[in-house]
């Protein structure tokens, strides 16, 4: 086995005649990994938005006029019996105004002479109503009630978000696969050049009894380092980009530490695979 210091020296020997092309490979790997990384961050943020939307999703049933306590009880029982409704809450005109004041502040509602807000029922929904057809059927049933003025439900927004998320995930996967193959190919080519440059040294190493792993380790490490550094720099770029988007456009979260580590390790793995392919093909030992 070689010591890490000896492997490092051997890597420098392998690339010292090809500094520019190795740097070019590194840059290409950075750019190649940044694209699927960016799509991954977009997908993560849309997933988060989807979860938030799901947790806050309600069906708001606006009523024509104030109802008697008995009628409220009746409707309470009715809504409670509808499949897909998980929670029923009555919101009087006064409650609605109070809620509006909470959300928009006192100034917004202080200019109002009269309370224009209608009474309503706020209905919690189960996942079965994320399906647009089922939701439409429930809405139609509720709208038939004579006391109901209108029903507002953001289920279609959730559906659209889920469709966009699905598309981005598929796109990310396809681009990710494409980029993975490209990164492997680019690294393999750089390692091939390094092998060609070190051919004489490799022959001499074999002559003095170097094992296969002794000879391969610097080349595989070179591929791994390019992949590792490429993914590391791509992560840094994406962190800066996320910070910029958060500060100037929309609140965007960066993936968790362990996810970033997994991304960087993926870069390492791709680099090593590329190097192994190059050694398998061009280093007959």
């Amino acid at each position: 086995m070689r010591s890490p210091a000896r492997v490092t020296i051997e890597i420098f020997r392998a690339v010292r005649h090809e500094v520019l092309s190795t740097f070019g490979t590194l840059l290409t790997v950075v750019l190649a990994l940044t694209l699927p990384g960016a799509l991954w961050i977009v997908a993560e943020n849309l997933s988060r938005m989807e979860q938030e939307l799901k947790s806050e999703l309600t069906m708001d049933v606006f009523l024509k006029e104030d109802l008697s306590r008995t009628k409220i009880e009746e409707l309470n029982v009715f809504f409670g019996g509808v499949k897909g409704i998980t929670d029923v809450k009555y919101l009087s005109r006064q409650d609605a105004l109070f809620k509006m004041r909470e959300i928009f502040g006192l100034e917004m509602v202080s200019g109002l002479d009269d309370n224009p807000l209608p009474p309503s029922f706020v209905l919690g929904v189960s996942e079965s109503l994320y399906d647009q057809l089922r939701a439409d059927s429930v809405i139609a049933r509720i709208k038939q009630l004579p006391e109901v003025e209108d029903v507002v439900f953001a289920g279609d927004m959730l559906n659209r978000l889920q469709q966009v998320l699905g598309t981005i995930k598929i796109l990310g996967l396809l681009i990710g696969l494409l980029v993975a193959f490209s990164a492997i190919f680019i690294v393999a080519n750089t390692v091939r050049v390094a092998i060609s440059d070190r051919r004489k040294a490799v022959e001499i190493m074999q002559l003095v009894g170097a094992t296969r792993s002794f000879i391969l380790t610097p080349f595989v490490s070179l591929g791994g380092i390019i992949g590792l550094m490429g993914a590391g720099v791509a992560s840094l770029l994406l962190r800066l980009l996320t910070g910029y988007v958060s500060g100037h456009i929309i609140e965007t979260s960066f993936p968790r530490f362990f996810d970033v580590v997994a991304f960087i390790l993926t870069g390492l793995l791709l680099g090593m695979i590329g190097a192994l392919i190059a050694t398998k093909k061009h280093l007959k030992i």
Binding site: M1, R2, S3, R6, R13, R16, K200, A201, E203, I204, M205, Q206, L207, V208, G209, A210, T211, R212, F214
Partner: protein, 220 residues
């Protein structure tokens, strides 16, 4: 130490190179292998460190049976065989000391030991002061001494030299043969392939003549 029995090598039915040679080299013995160009000296040397496989016959080197050696064990054999070539075969971007140290790195020697053994052997071959020079900064004689140092530093079972003086002038050739003798006195077994028979005779050692694929031993 080294036993070769009924060794054959051919590159096709019409191209036999070696046709049934046998010889033994004892521990601590220095033997010359002579013969005209194309006689098969280099082929024989290459078979002794398994760069080439014999067509038939047996080779035994110390505990190693070369006929039944798996490919993965060849590096292990080569750690016990020091080889010196006409063209030195030094790694151009390693200094003389680093080239010698490579043989010790391969066997996993500790850093301190590598430095000590490398300096000791470079002192023995007389180029310690040149240890930090690269091969292209060394003269032919110095480069061959570095190559010899690399072959000897791991104290192999046998040292094989294939026309080691082929690129050297007479003065350097004599000095190199003297060095082989010095190393042999320390206990190493050595087989030197050379076409300089007259020079070999001066050392009073066994000389094996290889010609037309067969071996003949010169009587002393």
């Amino acid at each position: 130490m080294l036993q070769v029995y009924d060794l054959h090598k051919s590159y096709g039915p019409a191209d036999p190179v070696i046709t049934g040679i046998s010889f033994v080299i004892d521990k601590g013995e220095m033997v010359f292998l002579s013969g005209p160009s194309g006689a098969g000296k280099s082929t024989l040397i290459r078979m002794l460190y398994l760069e080439e496989k014999p067509t038939s016959g047996k080779i035994k080197l110390g505990p190693f049976d070369l006929n039944n050696m798996a490919k993965r064990n060849i590096p292990l054999l080569r750690r016990h065989v020091g080889v010196v070539f006409q063209d030195f075969r030094l790694i151009p971007d390693r200094t003389a000391a680093e080239n010698v140290a490579l043989a010790l790195e391969v066997i996993g020697e500790r850093r301190g030991e590598i430095r000590k053994k490398t300096e000791d052997i470079l002192r023995l071959v007389g180029i310690l002061r040149k240890k930090d020079l690269y091969p292209d900064q060394l003269s032919g004689g110095e480069a061959q001494r570095a190559a010899l140092a690399r072959a000897v530093v791991t104290e192999p079972l046998v040292i094989l030299a294939d026309e080691p003086t082929g690129n050297l002038d007479e003065k350097n050739s004599v000095e190199l043969f003297d060095l082989f003798k010095k190393i042999n006195i320390r206990g190493s077994s050595i087989l030197i392939a050379t076409h300089e028979v007259d020079m070999a005779r001066k050392y009073g050692r066994r000389i094996l003549h290889l010609e037309n694929g067969t071996l003949r031993e010169e009587l002393r």
